[in-house]
């Protein structure tokens, strides 16, 4: 393909200075690489804190119920904590799985379908999770009082 007269005509003249080939791609993969490292450090703190408070303190996993969640989200700090954790973990995880799909799915169609499903899951989970954090009702009026946090009846 590269033989033929057209290719011959394109040969640079001798001693012409080296010209770096200009890339037509953006810096997307560079930013993604930086993001994985920056978000990873933040996620280490957020997730270790999450696991400590939910699994280590008090009765651990047995203490978790609706009232426990209501108690946590009554504090804006835990709302911000969980929102940040949701977004960073979903972007970090989606980008990681994107890398793995790119590495192993060699057929264009397979790769496209897998990444389509991945991005769909990303949007559904991030939108749903964000809505839940912002529209959560700690004391739903029709719920039995013994299932609710103590501040609902006080």
């Amino acid at each position: 393909m590269a033989h033929g007269t057209a290719a011959v005509a394109k040969i640079d003249s001798p001693r012409s200075p080296y010209v770096r080939r200009r890339t037509t791609r953006g810096n997307y993969e560079l930013y993604s690489w930086v993001f994985m490292r920056a978000s990873g450090v933040v996620l280490l703190v957020l997730i270790f804190g999450h696991l400590f408070v939910n699994l280590m303190v008090g009765e651990g996993v047995h203490a978790i119920d609706f009232a426990f969640v209501a108690g946590k989200w009554a504090n804006p700090m835990w709302q911000v904590w969980d929102l940040l954790m949701l977004w960073l973990a979903m972007i970090h995880g989606t980008n990681g799985v994107r890398t793995i799909i790119n590495d192993y799915a060699t057929r264009d169609v397979t790769r496209g379908v897998l990444k389509g499903l991945l991005y769909l899951a990303f949007i559904v989970v991030v939108v749903l999770g964000t809505l839940v954090i912002f529209t959560f009702e700690a004391c739903p009026p029709d719920a039995p009082a013994e299932l609710l946090a103590s501040f609902c009846t006080a």
Partner: protein, 127 residues
């Protein structure tokens, strides 16, 4: 028929296996995360629905699953710090094998702190 790619550079040993483990734990954590956001979203349905879902997390079998999940997260977190050091610390690549054993050591210490507490909660706690 497409053929398997030739001339890949899987070198074995610490560098490759930590990379494999990082991918495997990462994928596991990601799929748990998808499920975990969905189960937490049940707080928006009703207290009963959420308590029923979270109740299944409090059974012994799921308790062992949580231990495995925490193990995956702890390895992924510490090995992630190792990756940062390999990338940004001038001597990181030289010490990458040593750092993997440091990661394994910190993993054992962290799990030794977590596992007894969690397993006691799982097998003797509850209402």
């Amino acid at each position: 028929m497409p053929t398997a790619p030739a001339g890949t550079l899987y070198r074995g040993r610490e560098g490759m296996w930590s990379w494999v483990a990082h991918r495997v734990t990462g994928v596991l954590i990601f799929f748990f995360l998808l499920v975990h956001v969905l189960d937490t979203a049940l707080v928006r349905v009703s207290p009963e629905a959420y308590n029923a879902a979270i109740g299944t997390y409090q059974t012994p079998i799921m308790g062992l699953g949580e231990a495995g999940l925490v193990a995956a997260i702890v390895f992924h977190a510490f090995n992630g710090i190792r990756i940062l050091l390999v990338d940004f610390w001038a001597k990181g690549p030289k010490y990458q094998k040593t750092m993997l054993w440091v990661v394994v050591g910190l993993f054992v210490v962290t799990m030794a702190g977590f596992l007894p507490r969690h397993l006691i909660n799982v097998f003797t706690g509850g209402h």
